[in-house]
């Protein structure tokens, strides 16, 4: 019963947030909507006993990603109104057709009973995504008294590499100062760069 209440409440928050992301004219509202939706999802994770994932969701998304989004939105300029007229003639009908296609497909599948969620509850033991559990699964697992590398170890290391690459890429992108053609002597820093004939 409790879960039903939580599902209805948080589901409404998530859907509302999602619609706000898509509909809001001002991107700041969109970002707020996104934050609400993500928070609702974090609540669902807790319901699903994925405590660690829920914590990460809040910290990483609400704490870092949304903040980053807000920074960029401020930088780009909130006041810059998005052009309302659709530039691409076929884009809007095509997008709506695709969405309608998805819905129609889902409807056909559900009605014909060809498709069920293929989920059987309680098949395995109840899993608790605590920090210890997740951490242990990430690095190594014990099997018959023998510690061996977890099957998640390689992806784990690979993502660490990916993060480094992303960080370096973001930094170098931020430092990159192209010369603007339309405004020649705008930045002295760019003009003073050695090896670049100005």
């Amino acid at each position: 019963m409790v879960e039903l209440i939580i599902f209805v409440l948080m589901g409404a928050v998530a859907l509302g947030g999602a619609v706000a992301v898509v509909k809001a004219r001002n991107p700041v509202y969109g970002a707020m909507g996104l934050m609400a939706a993500l928070f609702a999802l974090a609540v669902f994770y807790v319901v699903h006993l994925a405590h660690f994932v829920a914590a990460v969701q809040v910290i990483v998304y609400a704490g870092a990603v949304i903040t980053l989004f807000l920074f960029v939105i401020m930088f780009v300029g909130v006041d810059r109104a998005e052009r309302l007229t659709e530039k691409l003639a076929v884009q809007r009908p095509a997008a709506l057709a695709v969405l309608a296609g998805v819905l129609a497909l889902a409807g056909v599948l559900v009605i014909t009973g060809q498709f069920d969620w293929v989920i059987t509850v309680g098949e395995g033991a109840e899993v608790r995504g605590t920090v210890e559990e997740i951490g242990a699964n990430l690095i190594s697992v014990e099997e018959g008294g023998v510690q061996r590398a977890s099957r998640w170890l390689l992806p784990f290391e690979a993502t660490s590499l990916l993060l480094i690459v992303a960080a370096v890429g973001a930094v170098s992108l931020a430092f990159y100062r192209p010369r603007r053609k339309e405004e020649p002597d705008d930045e002295t820093a760019g003009a003073d760069r050695p090896g670049r004939p100005s």
Binding site: L88, Q91, L109, Q114
Partner: protein, 633 residues
């Protein structure tokens, strides 16, 4: 000692690598030091390893050693194995011994050449390759050596590649050798098909139990094609005269003493196969006789000092083929050894003369060098008399044995004996002619030429080879057949043809062939030395037509040019112009054009609008899911 036989090959190979990388840096005289030492070291090592053969002369079982190095291609029976028997020992000693002397000589001859170190790189590589060839214990390794010496020959013929004629000569040698190699390769395939292995040990041990006479004939004829290519026999001899474009030490080492005898060695090595087929042996002997006679006639009318020797080499190789064709393997190998010595001497002497004349090779502009170059003159005289078959020099003994073997075979081979005798006469004539033109008479060189004796580093090898020319014939005189006994273990189970042992017959044959030599020399003396200028002109004018034909080598090059090269060029042009440009390029361009046109059609899809890509992506995903659903999950 024998277990580490690979050292013999590794030494010159190592020196070649050294000079390849460091030859330019260590400079001119020093680059030659490792080159000479490695070859001399290989000679000493081989001599020590061959010591057992001198001791256990009769113990044929122990005399043949197989040194296994490593597995190479086991499926072909081609393990990297070296065969060490008296025949291999003889070849190794000849290659390294004569090779070492020529290396020393080359230090003087190549003096001042900007690519001095590179020259010794090639020379050492050649020695290593030739040793692989003679020491191989299977046909695959033999083939490797065979191709490597061909490569070295090419590199050294066109060593002075800035001269167009040298570059062309190298190319010609390579292409003509390729024809022979084709036959050789087919022969190897047939051997493998018949025996299931390429190992000498299995193929050459009583091959009669595996293949019949017909197959043996086919194999041997194909091998003969390969041998004719490498050893410059009819009809593939045309590359050797042109190969004289290379430096003279190269001519001496590769195109006289060692590489060109590879064909003879190969026939002798596969004697067990040739023993199964009278036809193939007869073919080899006939080819040899024809080549010997033909080349001798051409040599008569050559003006270039090296071309005379080149045709002489072809002619002498013909002798060896005559010998091995009638299974007179020891006679053939004996001539191979003596020829290696005195022909190397002749070439080195000629090189000394050319060196003295500052590059002049035309004998018409020489003469009177007797007093200017005493050592060269003396050694050349010995070599000339040797090749002319004057006793007791080396050439007499070996040539005489070949003729005796041919005569002993009798029947059809008596005709070949006649051809050989005629060749002997011609040989004596053209060699004496060369001698008189170069050393005798009055000086005919132009103003400014100042002939002088060559430096000591060149004359010492000449002297050593001169002494050897006098002495080496005695290893196998009819009085004492040491060489034949020495080689006997290598021909265990092969039907060898020996010279007759009838003393009277031998003496008569020797007298006849000596007479032929003396007559040849006498004619040359009368025409080119004794007769006055006018008389000689008149005499030669009478035989102008044949002389003309011979001077141009029967126009064989021209005939080959018309019959083979021109159609070949036409074919190549056709395939380059039509097949390549129209068909193949057309195909490639057609595919490229089709892709380009298809790309042109599909270009609008790539609008640059991210959102339309997104829409297409979503559409694709929906279509994919729909398809999966339609298939029924």
């Amino acid at each position: 000692m024998v277990d580490y036989l690979w050292i013999v090959i590794a030494l010159p190979l190592g020196a070649a690598l050294f000079n390849h990388f460091l030859g330019r840096r260590v400079g001119e005289p020093r680059a030659a030091v490792p080159a000479i030492l490695s070859v001399a070291g290989a000679f000493v090592y081989a001599a020590l390893a061959a010591r057992d053969f001198f001791v256990s002369e009769r113990a044929s079982e122990e005399a043949v050693t197989v040194v296994r190095l490593f597995d190479w291609i086991p499926g072909l029976g081609a393990t990297a194995e070296l065969l060490w028997d008296p025949m291999a020992a003889v070849m190794t000693l000849v290659v390294t011994g004569v090779g070492a002397l020529i290396h020393i000589y080359a230090v003087g001859y190549m003096h001042g050449d900007p690519r001095f170190g590179r020259f010794f790189t090639y020379l050492n590589l050649f020695i290593a390759s030739m040793l692989i060839l003679v020491l191989a214990n299977n046909f695959a390794l033999l083939f490797v050596g065979w191709e490597l010496v061909g490569l070295c020959s090419y590199l050294l013929i066109s060593f002075w590649y800035t001269r167009p004629s040298a570059a062309a000569a190298g190319k010609k040698a390579f292409v003509v050798n390729r024809i022979g190699d084709f036959g050789f390769m087919v022969a190897l395939m047939v051997i493998f098909a018949a025996f299931g292995t390429l190992s000498y040990t299995e193929v050459l041990h009583e091959p009669g139990e595996v293949i019949g006479a017909g197959a043996a004939t086919a194999v041997c004829l194909l091998l003969l094609v390969g041998a004719a290519g490498k050893s410059a026999q009819l009809p593939l001899y045309v590359w050797l005269p042109d190969a004289m474009e290379g430096p003279t030490p190269v001519s001496a080492l590769i195109h006289a003493a060692t590489m060109v005898t590879a064909g003879v060695y190969m026939v002798a090595r596969t004697g067990a196969l040739f023993g199964l087929s009278d036809v193939a042996g007869g073919a080899a002997a006939t080819v040899g006789a024809l080549t010997a006679l033909l080349a001798a006639t051409i040599a008569v009318a050559q003006r270039d000092i090296k071309r005379v020797l080149a045709y002489s080499t072809i002619s002498q190789l013909g002798y060896m083929f005559m010998a091995v064709g009638v299974a007179g393997y020891t006679a053939g190998l004996f001539h191979l050894v003596t020829h290696a010595v005195f022909k190397a001497l002749l070439f080195l002497g000629a090189g000394s003369v050319i060196h003295a004349m500052a590059g002049e090779q035309n004998m018409d502009r020489m003469g009177g060098l007797r007093r200017k170059m005493p050592i060269t003159h003396l050694t050349m005289l010995v070599a000339t008399l040797s090749i002319a078959g004057i006793p007791p020099l080396a050439g007499f003994w070996s040539k005489d044995e070949i003729l005796a073997v041919l005569f002993a075979k009798g029947g059809y081979y008596t005709v070949l004996w006649g051809a050989g005798l005629l060749t002997a006469l011609l040989t004596a004539f053209y060699m004496a002619r060369q001698y008189f033109l170069v050393f005798g008479g009055e000086a005919r060189w132009g103003e400014g030429a100042e002939p002088h004796e060559s430096p000591r580093i060149m004359t010492v090898p000449l002297l050593v080879l001169g002494v050897l020319t006098v002495l080496i014939g005695f290893v196998n005189t009819p009085f004492r057949l040491s060489f034949e006994h020495f080689l006997a273990p290598a021909f265990e189970g092969v039907g060898l043809l020996h010279a007759p042992e009838d003393g009277f017959l031998l003496t008569a044959l020797a007298l006849v062939s000596t007479a032929a030599g003396v007559v040849g020399i006498a004619i040359a003396y009368l025409v080119y030395h004794h007769a006055s200028e006018d008389t000689r002109e008149r005499l030669l004018g009478r035989v102008r037509r044949p002389l003309m034909t011979w001077e141009h080598g029967y126009w064989v090059d021209e005939v080959y040019g018309r019959l083979i090269v021109k159609p070949g060029l036409a074919l190549a042009n056709w395939s380059a112009g039509f097949v390549d440009q129209r068909v193949i390029d057309g195909l490639v361009n057609g595919i490229g054009g089709a892709v380009r046109r298809a790309g042109g059609r599909l270009r609008p899809l790539q609008s640059g609008f991210v959102r339309s890509y997104g829409a297409l992506l979503a559409l694709g995903a929906v279509a994919l899911v729909a398809w999966i659903a339609a298939r029924g999950l």
